[in-house]
């Protein structure tokens, strides 16, 4: 049997942290892209498009992320196209992230005072000009703190990919635990590594929030 020293454990966990980071980035970038699309669908004047987007958001916010993962992972296999844990986790986390970001961003766009729409229209701006020059710049400022804050949820969400067998930080922890029987040390280290990833983002989000507040925008 191979003996694991503390440094072996830490080294293995750090190596696995890479995949947590990569998966988080995929989910965040993918989720932001899909989320942006959804936000504009939600804002369109087509009522069906609006309803469809709300339904999408409600479905993803009202069901466990674990079930979304299972449905995609096992669903693809049941349809005769088995996919890897990598792909399933990327898709599930992207969709999950997009629903939450769509909700956050819609809130930010709606937080820009209605009177500004009217004012821009009176000035002769069309819809796109109003969006581009009046609404979006303000909404963008409002949206940054909650978006950074949500990235913490994305990182934590990637831990569930371990359940379908994707070897990231949490899975590496359970595997090392099975080999070394030192659960206390290992899960404390795993928690510490997640904390090291998430806490700076949480602090940054809080700092940005405070800056907006001090600027009188909130």
């Amino acid at each position: 049997m191979i003996e694991f020293t503390f440094w072996d454990i830490l080294r293995n966990l750090l190596l696995a942290t890479r995949w947590t980071i990569v998966l988080s980035l995929i989910a965040f970038v993918g989720g932001a892209t899909v989320g942006l699309l959804l936000t504009f669908m939600r804002l369109s004047s087509n009522r069906w498009l609006q309803r469809l987007t709300s339904l999408y958001v409600d479905l993803f916010q009202g069901t466990p992320l674990l079930m979304q993962l299972f449905l995609i992972f096992f669903g693809a296999a049941a349809m005769g196209h088995p996919i890897s844990a990598w792909l399933a986790a990327s898709i599930a986390l992207t969709l999950f992230t997009s629903a939450f970001l769509c909700d956050i961003w819609r809130g930010c766009l709606e937080a820009v005072a209605k009177g500004q729409w009217h004012a821009a229209r009176v000035l002769g701006m069309n819809y796109f000009q109003t969006m581009r020059h009046v609404i979006l710049p303000q909404a963008l400022r409002l949206s940054i703190p909650p978006t950074v804050g949500f990235s913490v949820q994305v990182i934590k969400g990637t831990a569930l990919a371990s359940i379908i067998g994707f070897v990231e930080l949490t899975k590496a922890g359970t595997m090392l635990n099975n080999a070394t029987f030192e659960p206390f040390t290992i899960f404390a280290l795993v928690a510490l590594l997640y904390f090291a990833l998430c806490y700076p983002l949480s602090c940054y989000a809080r700092y940005l929030e405070k800056k907006l507040y001090d600027a009188g925008l909130r």
Binding site: P64, L66, F70, A78, T170, P183, F184, A188, S202
Partner: protein
């Protein structure tokens, strides 16, 4: 196996599904109550206690909010026995869910509490209320009313997150699903059904919370947005 759905294969497993549903509902109801109660205590102590207590509680809140629930669960279930504290799976699930909900809710409540004007508390004291009375009626209840929607959402997030307790072999809804699909190999149907049940649970939870809120915070309707 072609892309056909067959929900009839789930029929022989109704009792497992009900068992899982019962566990998830009980876990959720109990931990929502214990979690929110603990949150009130934490929120109060984070403002009023000795500096070292505040510091410690701040650490607990930040660690809980910045690590995944599944890791917290594994730490409690697998890690604590290493220190000689042995607990069974369902107790570990209770503890993890309570601590998780309490950390987030304490932070939400703190925002509501800090919105209370100082003068109001002094006015309460001047009216002859005891410290506890004035804290309860002037600070706590209005703060609860103010942040109630956020607390509803957080409790629902914890309920949905409880799907993970199946990983330490608690027989909840997700465990029932895993159990059934290992028997009938109809994973997609099982998970689709279970997902729908979670969706209904989330919906039901929101409705019941709102009904309770309407009664409890009735006299504060004017103050709310």
């Amino acid at each position: 196996m072609g892309p056909t759905l067959d929900f009839l294969t789930l029929l022989p497993y109704v009792s497992e599904l009900l068992k899982g549903l019962t566990t998830t509902v009980i876990l959720t109801v109990v931990t929502t109550l214990t979690g929110l109660a603990l949150a009130v205590a934490v929120a109060y102590l984070r403002v009023n206690a000795q500096p070292w207590v505040r510091w410690g509680l701040g650490g607990y809140v930040e660690v809980t909010r910045n690590t995944p629930f599944i890791v917290q669960l594994f730490f409690i279930f697998f890690g604590l026995p290493g220190l000689g504290i042995k607990i069974d799976a369902i107790t570990a699930a209770f503890i993890a869910m309570t601590l998780n909900l309490a950390a987030y809710s304490a932070e939400i409540l703190r925002a509501g509490i800090s919105a209370t004007a100082k003068g109001q508390l002094e006015a309460g004291r001047a009216l002859g209320m005891t410290t506890l009375q004035s804290y309860r009626h002037i600070v706590l209840v209005p703060a609860f009313a103010r942040v109630y929607p956020a607390l509803i959402s957080q409790s629902i997030i914890v309920m949905l997150g409880s799907a993970v307790v199946s990983q330490i072999s608690v027989f909840d809804l997700t465990y029932a699903a895993n159990f059934i699909q290992s028997r009938n190999f109809r994973s997609f149907e099982v998970y689709l059904l279970i997902t729908l049940v979670y969706l209904l649970l989330a919906f039901g939870m929101r409705r019941s919370f709102m009904l309770v809120g309407k009664r409890v915070f009735a006299y504060q309707q004017g103050e709310q947005r």
